[in-house]
Assembly symmetry: C2
Homo-oligomer: 332 residues x 2
Amino acid sequence: MIWYNDLNDGIILSTRIRLARNIDKTPFPSRLKDKTKVREMLSDSILKSNSTLSKDFTLYELSKLSQSEKTAMTEEHLISPQMINDNEGAVLVNKDKTMSIMLMEEDHIRLQIIKGGYALDEAYDLADKVDDVMEESLTYAFDEKFGYLTACPTNAGTGMRASVMMHLPALVMTGNISRVLQSFSGMGIAVRGMYGEGTNADGALYQISNSITLGLSEQEIIEKLKVVVNKISDMEKQAREMLMNNRKDDFTDKLMRSYGILKYAVKITSQEAKTMLSEVMLAQNMGIIECNGKMTPLELMIKSAPSVIGGKDNLSPDERDKKRAELIRENL
Amino acid sequence: MIWYNDLNDGIILSTRIRLARNIDKTPFPSRLKDKTKVREMLSDSILKSNSTLSKDFTLYELSKLSQSEKTAMTEEHLISPQMINDNEGAVLVNKDKTMSIMLMEEDHIRLQIIKGGYALDEAYDLADKVDDVMEESLTYAFDEKFGYLTACPTNAGTGMRASVMMHLPALVMTGNISRVLQSFSGMGIAVRGMYGEGTNADGALYQISNSITLGLSEQEIIEKLKVVVNKISDMEKQAREMLMNNRKDDFTDKLMRSYGILKYAVKITSQEAKTMLSEVMLAQNMGIIECNGKMTPLELMIKSAPSVIGGKDNLSPDERDKKRAELIRENL
C-alpha cells in the first residue's frame, strides 16, 4: 500500500530508512564521466540477483520518463526533487512502492524504504536485506574508521538516515510546538517541516530524523529516534485531549469550518489548503469527521502542492488556486 | 404563502403597507382606561361584518398567548416587538398571514398587509379594502386639514407607511451602498437596516419606506417609493453583474465558502450568520448554489436572531451560537 494511504494513528504518518552506498574505487557520481556502465552494474545487482527481490523491482531510466511522471514520483517520495532534472540517473522501484533505489543521485546508491505508520525496525530490516542482496555482487567503499564513505561527509558512517513523518496539529494550535521541538535540539535529532522550514511547517507535518550517522550503530540510531518520536507523540496526544476537553466548541468549530470551506471553495492557496487539510486530517483521526472521498487529506495535501498542481501546465498562481480547489472539492 | 418564502427576484423581498387609524372622540390607547370595550368594537368591525373577510381572520388576545407564540408572531412581522409585553392588546390575523390588524398598539388600529416580492399596488388595494370594511361600522378620527389623526403626529395625514424590504448584498460588497442610500435622502424616503442601523445592516437587508405621510395622497406616496425602489434595484443588479463579470472567482469563492461554513460550523454568531446567509441567498438568486434545505436563507436569518434563538430558554451567548449553528446546519 502506498505510504500516504496507510496512516496508522494519524500522528506518526510514515517511516523512512535511507541508506547511502558507493562503489569502491569509483568516483562519486558528480565526478564520474561514464555513468552508464556503473549504473548498469548497480541495477544488475538487484535485477540479476538470485533473490526473489529481483522480480519485485522495475528499473526506470530518468531520461525515458516524462516531466509529469517524474513529478508524480517526487510526490510519492520515490525520487528526490533534484532527480527531476537528471537525465543520467535511474531508479528501481518495487511493486507496492515501499522501496526505491536511486542510482547516480548524490551517491551511487540511495536505497530507501518508506512505509505508512510507525515501522522503524521493519523498515530497517528490509533495507538491510536489500543492502545484503546488492552487496553480494558489489564492493562498497568502506573505511574501518569512517564506515561507509559518502559524497557528503555528513552521511558517512552508517550512511543511514532514519526518519519519521509526524502530524502535530494540536501542538501547533496550542502554541507548544516550538518549545517541544527545541527541547530535542542538541540530541543528534533534526526536525524539519515537510512544507516550510522549522516550526512554521504548513500542514503541521514534521520530519524527525537522526542528524548524526557516525559513531553510533544503526540500532542505536533507531532506538534514539524512537525515544524522541514517542515523546513527541505523547505530547501531541495530550494536546489533542486538552483541546477536546477544555476548548471543545472552538476546537471542533475550527475543524468543521475548514472542512466546509474545502468542500465548497472556488479557489484556495497552497498554504491555506495545507493548513485546512491538516485540520480535516486531525478531525478525521479524532472521529469528528468521516471523510469518504476518493483521496485522503494527506494525499490531497501532497497533490495540491504548487509544483504538482501547476507543474506540467505552467499555470498562473490564480489558475493553480482554482485547480487546487477543484481537486479538493471533488476528492475530499 | 408566508412572505419570507415567496421572494420573487431576490432583490425586492417583501412589501408592506401599514395604515394607522383611530376612533373618533376616543383617547389614544396610552391614555385609554378601559381598553376592552373599544377593542371589542374594533374586532367586531371585521369579525361581525358582512364581508367575506370576516371568515378569513382569527382574533388573538395577547394576554392569552405564550411568550414563544408572541415571539413567533414578531418574527413573522405580524405584531410589533413592543406587543410582546402587552397584555391588553389583540391582533387579528388572516389565514395566509398576509394581513394583520393590531388593536391597541400605539394607535387603536394598525392594519398591515405584508406580501412576498414587489407588490405595492396589490398590497395597498387590499389595505384599502379592509379599511373600508372596518369603516362601515366605525367612525375614524379625521381632520380636514391633518387627515387621519394618529398618536404620533409623524403618522398623521394618510396614516400610511409603505415599505419594501430589499436585499442589497452586491452594493454592500462593492462598497457603493452608502453612496446609493445617501442619494435618496431628503426625498421623503427613509432607509433602515432590518438588522443594525443605516448603511451597516447585517445581512444586507434594507427597509425602504416613505417618511412623509402628510401632504401627499396614498397613490403619490406609493409612486414616489416605486421610483426609488426601482432605481436601487437596478443598481443592485448592475453591481451583481459587475461582480460576476469582473471578479467572478473571488466573488463566487466568497459565496461558496460562506455556504460551506454554514453547512459545517459548530458555533456561529448572529452577525456572522446573517452576513453569510445573505451571501448564500445571493448565490441562490444568481443560480450559483441550489439550496434544497427545509428553510430558505431568509427564513434562517429571521429565525437565527438572538431574541428568537435564545428567547424562551434564556440561553447564554455561547449556547445561542451553538444552537444557531445547529439550526442552520440542519435546515439550509
